[in-house]
Amino acid sequence: MYNEPLADASLLACPDCDLVQRLPDIEPGASAHCPRCNFELWRRRDHLRHRTLPLTLAAVVLYLVANTTPMLGIAAVGREASTTVLGGAEQLWRDGREIVAGLVLATAVLAPALQIGFMLAIVLGARSERPPSWVGTLLRHHPTARTWSMIEVMMLGVLVALIKIAELATVIPGPALFALGALVFLLAGIQAGFDPRVVWDRVEWAEAATRRAGAPAQMAGEMP
């Protein structure tokens, strides 16, 4: 059963302390804080159309470069070896650490792909006046993808590995390393300029979409 929305749409509860309050109308760039616990309820940003789409497209390109080109190579006493981002998970798998390999794959490859892919779909979907409800579904799951997407942490890890290995062998940085470095800043920029509230305010509600889809067959009431 869907809940019943309130008549006054400007009311909300603080996610940190649950205090019910009215969200003030603020200028772009300004932020609204909870009067009781000081949690930032909203930072208004209006970059969605102008900035987020080109940045996200650039992130797609960098992501593809980062995952298809060599990241690091080493040379020592006439021998050479190199690795890609995927290689980090692959060798762990071969050495019998399948679970850790899966975690590296999930946080370094899969979650970033979801994070960027979701963002691209959200921005494209939100171009219409009334974004369809699947935009809301993606928007809802985007924070989870972001939590587990750890490109910036991986970058630091690679840097540390690189310095460790540099004592033993010559390290040759590959194109993927630079692509990842740029991607870290790009993702931070996208995140800083993206205001989910702008999309939430216009998206088609799940309830309405269900009603529309199920109206002829009277399915709406049976949704779990």
């Binding site: 850790v100 590296v104 942490v153 062998a169 939430w200």
Partner: protein
């Protein structure tokens, strides 16, 4: 009570954690569904304290082998050698490498232990119904949420060292048994953070405020 209600729960309203919409569940219902984003809704995260404790205790148990067992095993012409996380930090310490050494020390040793202690502190104060330092405790929770991911750094260091240093028979590096436990600590503490409901920190104060308004 409802006349002086201050929180969504006291008003009998669900606040959606995903899209922020405030909505009213069917009368007498504890659970519902957000009409805007279809998220499953409850007044508080279900069994938040129990779930958080479970993840936290599991993380604390894994913390011991994570630090005692080697995370990397190096085989070279000089024989083989295995390093724990702390030994990795010491090895990195050099006139040029010490800033990175400090970062790894911070990310791999201080953050996981601080995270476990902080969450335990939050869980205990919530259980005791504390009404003190609410804002600070809320900030503490958000900080733990924010910096927790950085403890993954050692997993990546080891993953890429292992992937790269495959110069058999000259030298090769393999992951050690500690790596699994270390990764488990990171994931379990992240799940613990996700299970905790920060609104519980304010609930005892909200109950008092509602009575005194």
């Amino acid at each position: 009570m409802s006349a002086a209600a201050v929180t969504a729960m006291q008003h009998g309203l669900h606040s959606c954690e995903d899209c922020g919409l405030l909505s009213r569940p069917g009368s007498g219902e504890q659970e519902g569904r957000c009409p805007r984003c279809a998220a499953h809704l409850e007044f508080r995260k279900p069994a938040s304290l129990q779930r958080t404790w479970a993840f936290l205790i599991a993380a604390a148990v894994c913390y011991v082998p994570a630090n005692v067992l080697p995370v990397m095993e190096t085989t070279s012409a000089q024989g083989s050698e295995s390093d724990t996380i702390l030994q990795g930090v010491v090895l990195l310490w050099s006139p040029t490498g010490w800033p990175l050494s400090l970062i790894v020390l911070f990310a791999s040793i201080m953050i996981p232990s601080a995270k476990i202690l902080t969450l335990a502190y939050l869980l205990i104060t919530v259980r005791r119904g504390s009404i003190q330092n609410n804002a600070q405790r809320g900030r503490l929770y958000r900080t733990v949420e924010l910096i927790g991911r950085w403890s993954m750094v050692d997993v990546f260091v080891d993953a890429f060292t292992v992937a790269l240093v495959q110069l058999q028979p000259l030298m090769s590096v393999a992951p050690g048994p500690g790596l699994f436990f270390f990764a488990a600590v990171v994931v379990l503490t992240m799940l613990a953070v996700e299970s905790f409901d920060p609104r519980l920190i304010w609930d005892p104060s909200s109950a008092q405020e509602a009575l005194h308004v």
